[in-house]
Symmetry: C2
Subunit: 261 residues, 2 copies
């Protein structure tokens, strides 16, 4: 039976790649959520007219920090397919960058709304259905959820909180598998932002240069790589004994998930 998966931040990068992987290789139905209506239309058009997958992708345009958008996402899942099997909690921002002391409290809170509280809201509203389906929640983590990175304190702290939330859900929800994935340094607009704004935002020169070098040497990770792993995990690859754990997208423990594809 086809799985029904919610993907946030689905218009670009890892979210888009995961959505396409779910449609093409994992026989899933997807609700793709993002702020950019144009990008979502392009994605839907691609799914229907290039991949020939009519009726398998629904979209919701909006900001997931708004409760009514979350409600619309859940309602659409249930109306269309009557179930929810998984969430890829991918939406997230790096900004604001800068010294923690120069970022005003409203910006701090806005950052947490996007990276942390919106995920609580989405998961809370989906959880009755995830319990029924014995579903899966996959959150996107990062190495800097554990290691402080100069000028990235909102991102480091919100991701540390999200990582811990993923573990708490694993403890509290025996019927749901909750896993964090570290997608590596992926070739997305977040990286372009780092290259453009990082020095101005007082990133450490050596940190900044590392991202420049990864870009110039063409060794940034392609979004399809974590996308394949995320798709494989959310449809069933994430098993009960993995709940509460975190993995790098290329952890050898996950390699078996991709052998079949």
């Amino acid at each position: 039976m086809s799985k029904v998966v919610i993907v946030t931040g689905a218009s670009r990068g890892i979210g888009r790649a995961t959505t396409l992987q779910l449609l093409q290789h994992f026989n899933s139905n997807v609700i793709a959520v993002a702020r950019s209506n144009q990008d979502l239309c392009d994605l839907k058009n691609h799914a229907e007219n290039v991949l020939g997958m009519k009726g398998r992708l629904e979209t919701v345009t909006g900001d997931i920090t708004e409760e009514h958008i979350i409600e619309e996402v859940v309602k659409k899942c249930l109306e269309q397919w009557g179930r929810i099997d998984g969430i890829i909690a991918n939406a997230g921002v790096l900004d604001p960058m800068g010294n923690f002391a120069d970022i005003n409290l409203q910006e701090w809170k806005r950052h947490f709304d996007v990276n942390f509280f919106s995920n609580i809201s989405l998961i809370q509203k989906s959880i009755p259905y995830l319990r029924t389906s014995k579903g899966r929640i996959i959150t996107i983590s990062t190495g800097v959820a554990a290691f402080a990175h100069q000028s990235w304190s909102p991102y480091c702290t919100s991701k540390a909180a999200l990582h811990m939330l993923t573990k708490c859900i694993a403890v509290e929800e025996p019927d749901i598998v909750s896993v964090s994935i570290l997608p590596g340094v992926v070739d997305t607009t977040m990286q372009a932002n780092i290259r453009e704004q990082g020095l101005k935002a007082q990133m450490k020169q050596t940190d900044y240069q590392r991202y420049i070098d990864l870009y110039e040497s063409k060794t940034l990770v392609h979004p399809d790589e974590p996308g394949r792993v995320l798709a494989a995990l959310v449809v069933g690859g994430a098993t009960q004994e993995m709940s509460g754990e975190s993995y790098r997208y290329n952890d050898p423990k996950l390699a078996h998930l991709l052998d079949k594809k």
Copy 2:
């Protein structure tokens, strides 16, 4: 020269113990901040009339989630003593307890306001003075900032974020020492709350029983124990190479701080 230290959550428990340690054994001036005016008056009365320390303790009654209270704290420090040498960021709450999904988003945000954002605000407003004094920021952490605890997801996640903030400050502020301390399971009103509300709030039976056993066997930590360590750290015991690290209050690496007292 006497150090000037801000202690939040100073009316009870670890905050009160640390304040008294600073006054009695570390020759410091303290601004004690808490919501309970009565408790602060008792503390001030005790300091002045029992310990005979007139002029060494100032108090600010109010909620540190309110910006004007933070401003009053900093203003009072500067007016009274013209400097800030350290912060004991001790104020914090465990509530709300319960399954993460049953806690509404406003309660989640209120919890983060108290445990996380108020500390950002206090540290931001103090930081020009801490840079000048080459001061110290000591945050209160917990084992559950790293290990998920059933029914405590707001506390686990806010403390994970605060722990990471402490590390970020260490990276960004070379002139300030920023350290997390785990005070152990201390005999405070937080523990009384756990014993009274824990089962109703769906704590795991084995977790709950552990706290009951610590209480009944009289092996809860006395607030003076972490209080002594916190006081010793904030007046200078926390050295540059410790910045960004976290320690249990009884870590052997800290034992030398107490030898002199």
